[in-house]
Each structure stands twice: as C-alpha cells, then as structure tokens.
Amino acid sequence: MKKEKRVILYYGEDPEFVQSLETYFKRFHRDLVHELTCLDYKKTSIADYFIEHGKAHLIFIDFFDISDKQLLSLLAEINLLKQSALYKSSTIMGLFADKDTLVSQEYLLSSGISLAYIQGRSMTDFICDSFEIAFDDTLFQPRYAKVDHVDLQIQIGFCSLLTQMDDKQFSIESDYEVHGKKIQTNLAMFKALTATEFDILKTYPFALKSPLDFTYQIKFPIAGAWEADSTNLIHKATLDTWLDLKSDLFEAPKPRIKIFTNQAKLTVLLAKQQSKMDISFDISAQWSTALFNEHRALKKPQLIFYDMYEAEEGIGVKGLSDLTDILSNQRGNKPIVIITNTPSKTEALRKLYQYPHLLAIEGPLTEEIVQLFSKKFVESGKTQGQVKPTQIKCNQPARSITIYDQFIFNSLTEREFTFLSKVEIPFYTTVKLNLSFIVYGTLVPYELSTNKKKDYYHYKAIIHGVEEGELEKLRKLVNQLIFNPVDDLNPKTLKDLIAQSPIQMVPLPEKVLEEVRTTEQEVFTLSVKKMNSGIKSKL
C-alpha cells in the first residue's frame, strides 16, 4: 500500500532546525514519506504556501523572534484557515524559547496551536507527540513509568480565550462545553477579585473571534453600593477605572462580513488579506438555519456573500430562501446580500425571495469581488456606527483565560495522563494541570476508545509545554504515586500525600469510586482484546 506523503512546514527563521528535523527523520524513520519545507515568515505566509502547493498536514511555527505585527497577521490567517473545512485539519505546533514565553502567550493554545515545544526538550518527544496529534500515528515511542488507577478527583483547566469585556459582562470562547448556568474561571487581572464561579448570561454554539466551539457571555459580579468589600464581588468604580487604564488592550470590533461558499481556496486567499483589511470575515461552507440565527444575533453581519458555486442542498436555492426569510423577519438593520454564481438577475431574485436588499452577480465569487464590495462597504461609513472598543486585541496576554471543571484522574506518565469525564470533550482540546508548574495537555483519540463506558468518557492527553526541570518533577510524582498506590494507603497517609502533592486532588466518594473501577475494568478488558487482535502503527 502506497504511503501518503506527509507535508510538513516549518514557519520561522531557523533553517538549522529544519536540518536537524531532516537528520532525525533520516536516522530514525528512513521509510517516512515526507516533504519538509522551510518558510521564512518575513518573506511569505502560510496562506501563500497553501495557495501555491495545497495544504500542509503539519506546521511548526517558530515563535522565537516573531514581531507583534507578524503575530497579528499570523493569528488572523490561522483564524480564517481554521474556519475552512478543508484546511482546519492542518495541525499547528508552536516552538517557544522558554516556558515563561509560552505561559505569557498561553492564548495561542486556543488560537489554533495544538502543541507547544520548549527549546531544549528531546527531538524524539517532539516528533512522536506532533505525529500522534497530526496523523493519529504512534511512531516509535519510549516506554515510560506509569501509575494507573490513581482515581482521585482533580481539577482540570481548559485553555480558552477572553475575547470581550465591558462594564457589565465579559465573553469567553472555548471548546469546552459548560453545562448549566455557572462557569468556573478566574479573572487574573483583578487581583482582589478571587471569585472562581460566575453566572453565565448566555451561551452561543459558536465563537466570535476564534475557531473554538462556544461563546459564554458572563456577568461581572458587581457589588451594590451598599455592599461591603468582598473578594467575590467587584465594585463598579474599580472595574471602570481598570477598563479606562487598560484601554490600549481593546479595539472596536471590525465590521463583519459573512461569506457562504464551498470554495476552499477562497478561504485561503481571504486569510492572506484578513489582517490588511478593516473587515472581519466569517466563512461557512454549509448552511444551517439554526446556526445562522444564533450567529446573526451575536455577530450582526451587515454584508453577506452567498456563493452558489457548486450549489447543493446546503448553500443553494433553499438555503438562500431560509436566509432571506430570517433576514426579512429580523428587526432593525437588514444586511445586504450579494449572491454570486447565479444565472438569475437581481430583480428576479428580489421578487422571488421578497428581499429588496440583495444584488445578484452572474460570475463567480472571487477575492477581487470580496475586496471591491468590502472596500466600498467600509468607505460608505455604514458599518456598525460608533462602537465602543470592547474586543481584546488578538495578541494580548490578557486574552488567556481558563475554564475549570472536576474530573477523575486515572493514570500518569511523564508523557501523558488519562482521566475520566462525565461530559464529552472534543479531541485536540488543550487542557492544563496546575501543579507547582503548569502542565499543558492535548486530548487525542485514544486506542482504548473514548466511547462512553457506563458512566464516563475516558480521555488521554499528551503532555507538552514542559521544560526539562519540570519533567524531572513529573517523573518524581509518577514514582511517588507508583510506590505509594492510593488503594494501599490508610486514610491518614492518603490525606498527607494529597496535602504534599503539587496536584490538587480529592479522594472520591465510595459510590463514585465503584463506578470508576467498573469503567476502568471495561477499558482494561477492551485493551486486552485489542492487543490480542494486534494493533499496528499506521506508519
């Protein structure tokens, strides 16, 4: 069977790193069919490469010396590429000089970067981890000491984005689905506010500024004038002062243009233009009435391109009918809809759809047409009026925020950990453990299956973003838990161990422990079955 060529890009300024990758592949993976290309980010862009050569499977982005301007452009490009069904599967790894740099830019792990590699770590770990995430491919991996059946309740964080803030509410975007009306997070910028639980005003099943899955609008816990100082509340004056002092963190939202098109290449072309234009693009390759209804309520596009290229049931005549019905019935502003790739004329479509704010263009939707109409749209000044700057700029450390929840810690090696969850979590979500140092993990499809076993989903996270010194501490923790199995400990010793442990762990109640053990038994049985049937590497 012919092996598929792995197309790998390095995007940075260090060709020696690329050379070291080639050397590594030649030495350890001679039969790896691959193409490794070095792109200098001062001369070209990822979108340029995609336009000319097609997509890459795996992209290493070097954040060592990237300038602010380059970073903004890169983030805008990645954001748009991740909206495309064709390109979002390209896996992106970030290379960082040190842990502090990574932590200060933690928002990158929710902005399309799936794994962080810190200079000085072993090339083997780096290649094995990136290939598992990018290709679901388990290359040769060293075996690590493993502690199993830890079975303690643990708090896990989900790297998310703080995208918007005003004097009443703030918005978090995340892949993690919060169930219920409360969200566990903290607002590090307000030192005196130590509240860790907030009220959710509204949840949206999409993200405004990122390729994540959900947006949560959250209420600031404002203290009433009569209320005494409290660490769970913030006074309006404090909030207003902070917003004022930190006004340079914010920008007004750019006018939004919604584009419905099946043309994957157009997404790449627009990604290249994104940061140069005073416009924000949202691109969808499919039509969904429910999704668009939510979308327009939050994002309020004033200009919509509807491209009938290869129109099928989705982005076709019926979808356009639904779209114009929704827009006709919405109060206030009626967006302009430009329909391309249609053989019918403007007047015919206006009468058919009973929507006078549309324009039909027979030709295809192109980058030039989007630019032409977008430019006139901005020049007309008929954007969203005077909008307050409440969006946090894309390259600000303040964007980093974490959503927390409780799970059951199952196993740990220095390379990965597993846990049980009552709720389903998408693969490739980035999580973090707050030990005495931060450990990041990326959830990957697990050979033992993550179908819900009885009461729990079983997840595996590949550990990354850890320096050599921290790795030592992880190894010690694994050994500590191996030689002090939780089951064998008397309650006092367990209590002491937990107290000394850098991980915040809580013993499970008896009933929960029973459920967990049943789940683990099922998982173990399944793993034995699969081992016996012989699972081979896909390489």
Partner: protein, 146 residues
C-alpha cells in the same frame, strides 16, 4: 420603440392577446406560443431577444422551457408571469437564470421590465464583469443601510 423581438408564451389565449396589445407599441415584433413546445418551434425559426413566459402551462411548462433553452446554449432573458402559489416553480426557474417575475393578473411595470429584457437580450454583457449598473445598485443599497 425598442429594438428587438419578443416571444410571449401562455396557455390562455386571452392573456396572450392582452399582453400583445399592451406591448405592441413598444416592441418591434411580437411572436406568441401557447406552450413551451410551440415556443421552442418559434425560437428555431425567428430571432428572439426576450421571452415573457407563463410559468405554469400544460404540455411544457415555463421551467421545462427555460431548461431546454439553456441546454441549447441560448441565454435569452426570461420574464416569468406567475400566479400566487407557484413559488416552487419559481425556485426551480431561478436555477436556469430568470430575468424577472411579474405577478398575474397585475400588469404594472410590464412595459418597463420588457424593455429592460429586450435591451439585455440585444446586447448581453460578459458574465464575469461587474457592470456599472450593478455597482450603482450596490451604492444605493449601501445608502439605504441603517
């Protein structure tokens, strides 16, 4: 009087007569047909610049007609004359390129639409071009935007 020849297709003779009467002073020549099949026969013999067509007819309806005309590579403007409740046919017709729709039995705007259709049929523009008319129309829409 506009340049161009018009073909009117409708299964109701009285409608044909009425439309012909209303448009006779504005068009060079008017041809008529009572169904799509007859319309195709006219198209084979005569030079036509625009078609006014009932969308719902026996033998061959307006959608089947436009589909057949497009399959023959003929890009003439089609103005469909429709009644209430024919939306599904209209949705089908736009896939093949409708120029405009008029509502039965209302004749308001008939002349203006036909003259535009004849003009478009006499001097078709290249499909990739964004015409000045389209840009002007866009600017109008922008002005109307709140």
């Amino acid at each position: 009087m506009a340049q161009g020849n018009l073909l009117i297709t409708d299964d109701e003779p009285i409608i044909l007569k009425m439309l012909k009467m209303n448009l006779a002073d504005h068009v060079e020549k008017i041809f008529t047909a009572e169904n799509g099949r007859e319309a195709l026969a006219v198209l084979e013999k005569e030079e036509i610049h625009c078609i006014v067509c009932d969308i719902n007819m026996p033998v061959m309806n307006g959608v089947e007609l436009i589909k057949e005309v497009r399959a023959r590579g003929i890009q003439l403007p089609f103005i469909f004359y429709t009644a209430h409740g024919e939306r599904e046919l209209m949705l089908e017709a736009v896939k093949y390129g409708a120029f405009d729709f008029l509502n039965k039995p209302n004749l308001d705007g008939l002349e203006e639409v036909v003259l535009r259709g004849l003009k478009a049929g006499s001097s078709p523009s290249a499909e990739e071009d964004i015409s000045d008319d389209q840009l002007s129309e866009y600017k109008k829409l922008l002005k109307e935007l709140n």
